[in-house]
């Protein structure tokens, strides 16, 4: 039972990061109807930027901030320079272009930084507190929950309480009507990509201390887990992405806890295939949103 509790909290902590990353995928899907397969690679690139700054200044937080800001910029650049020109007549076009971006980004990072793992220290202790004799949560876990919680709250406020968020939603729903109402649709799309990439970068920075270290492929498993979470949630639903992220985190924690860590990546793929076969529209997809 102790082990189960420990794994549950571990899973929720991992799941929170997957949730944030899945949220970034959902943001772009809603805005542009593209699954951003390059999001893992983009997060790695910004993590290297943060890593460099953190090393140069000795400040983890400056590095963290750099990664998030670099995410904003990289997201905007990728939309303006690449994705805007993708022909949307087939969904495959966006996927192929995104995969091309992955190859370019990972290739360039390998050339600059090499392919070795560079361990990243956590800003807070990862030793779990003992609660009732069971090791449940570390300070770092609490930081992860707080950071992801803040992202969820801020995004919710942005999209429901601010004119900019409203215009972003309007531009995504019906670009032509939005233009007539004076909404700068292109700008809203750029902003959407920038925000999504920044959230992706933040999730990337959160996951790094729990992994082997920074590496051009460091976010591959994060991407697959978050993609599974987003699909589980229906791709269209931010709430679905968060719930999906937590579910995937729990599944991964239980599988690695009871069957060994090497089985975990396979478990994610198995879950992804199972969801695609049984509930391709996800658990939370709105049929209405699909036809709109």
């Amino acid at each position: 039972m102790d082990r189960f509790l420990y794994l549950t909290f571990d899973g929720l902590s991992r799941g929170a990061v997957y949730a944030a990353f899945a949220l970034a995928l959902v943001l772009i899907w809603r805005a542009a109807r593209i699954v951003n397969f390059a999001q893992g690679a983009m997060a790695v690139a910004t993590a290297y930027a943060g890593y460099s700054v953190a090393n140069a200044t000795g400040s983890y937080w400056l590095g963290f901030l750099t990664a998030v800001v670099a995410g904003l910029l990289l997201g905007a650049v990728v939309e303006r320079v690449v994705m805007r020109f993708v022909d949307h007549s087939s969904p495959l076009n966006g996927v192929v272009v995104a995969l091309g971006l992955v190859l370019i980004i990972q290739g360039v990072l390998g050339m600059i930084y090499g392919n070795e793992f560079r361990p990243v220290e956590a800003p807070f202790s990862r030793d779990a507190f003992l609660i009732g004799g069971v090791a449940l949560l570390s300070r770092y876990d609490l930081f992860v929950f707080a950071a992801v919680g803040a992202v969820v709250v801020l995004l919710t406020l942005l999209f429901t309480r601010t004119p900019t968020g409203l215009r972003m939603r309007a531009a995504a729903f019906a670009p032509d009507v939005s233009r007539l109402l004076g909404v700068p649709v292109g700008g809203m799309l750029t902003l959407g990509w920038a925000l999504a990439a920044a959230v992706g970068s933040l999730a990337g920075m959160l996951v790094l201390p729990t992994e082997l270290g920074l590496h051009p492929n460091a976010m591959d498993l994060l991407f697959i887990s978050a993609f599974t979470a987003a699909v589980l949630g229906g791709l269209d639903s931010p709430v679905g992405a968060v719930v999906g992220g937590l579910v995937v985190g729990l599944v991964l924690a239980y599988v690695s806890g009871y069957f060994g860590a090497t089985v975990a990546p396979m478990a994610v793929l198995f879950l992804l295939v199972a969801v695609l076969l049984t509930r391709p529209a996800g658990l939370f997809a709105k049929a209405k949103a699909r036809t709109a």
């Binding site: 019906a174 032509d176 009507v177 007539l180 909404v183 649709v185």
Partner: protein
């Protein structure tokens, strides 16, 4: 009067072709401030194309547009900045957003926000459904929401594309009162003759893209060419 700069929106000899099809041919129209100008004609006469030209959705092969005497080449996303609002035939609302949120997208005055949106909703009698989703409302209510969204931007020129389509008599009477009371210039494309005749100061009649008559409702009613275009026989 002629010494002043010509205020309002003017179309000069507009011609639009789609491939071999002439959608508009040498159409000129002046929409002066405060006037209600109607555009009528049988199906396929080019009424909606005319609207699309003013909105920048269709680019004319020849002719020019002026706004307050200055050359104007419309772009859809700049219309609102120029004070032009347009409703759409197909009631183009954002279904995943509430009625209030739909109207808020159209509000352009900083700080006005929710108050301006409610004002427009109340004016159109749909403030009670502010938190509903447009898809859940009957057609007539959605059309009112569409109007509210256009009014919320406080436009100088309000372009209404078949606002009476699918409405019953009482709704059309309400619409006529609103158009008469609204303190902006109105450009109206409409099939419903009674509405057009009762609210317009001036009417342009198109037939196969060509202007065949321009005048007051009384003049249009008495025009033989208009009767012929509509009934297909010489009157």
């Amino acid at each position: 009067m002629s010494t002043h700069v010509e205020q309002g929106l003017s179309l000069h000899d507009i011609t639009v072709r789609f491939g071999g099809l002439v959608a508009l041919e040498d159409v000129s129209l002046r929409v002066s401030p405060g006037r209600v100008v109607g555009v009528i004609g049988p199906n396929g006469a080019g009424k909606t194309t005319l609207f699309n030209v003013v909105c920048g959705f269709a680019v004319p092969q020849s002719g020019s547009i002026t706004l307050d005497g200055k050359a104007f080449s419309p772009k859809p996303h700049q219309l609102a900045r120029h004070g032009i609002a347009r409703t759409l035939q197909g009631v183009g609302q954002f279904n995943g957003m509430t009625v209030l949120e739909n109207v808020l997208v159209g509000v352009r005055h900083r700080g006005a926000g929710t108050a301006a949106a409610y004002e427009a909703l109340e004016r159109c009698g749909v403030a009670d459904v502010a938190d509903a989703y447009p898809a859940s409302l009957p057609n007539a209510r959605r059309k009112r929401v569409e109007l509210a969204r256009a009014l919320a931007s406080r436009p100088r020129i309000l372009m209404l594309d078949e606002p009476a389509g699918g409405l019953d008599g009482a709704e059309i009477d309400w619409l006529a009162e609103l158009i008469k009371a609204v303190d902006t210039t109105v450009l109206l494309v409409e099939h419903h003759m009674d509405l057009v005749m009762s609210v317009c100061d001036e009417i342009l009649v198109l037939d196969f893209g060509k202007p065949i008559a321009l005048g007051s409702p009384a003049e249009i009613r008495a025009d033989d060419k208009v009767t012929e275009a509509y009934l297909g026989t010489a009157a």
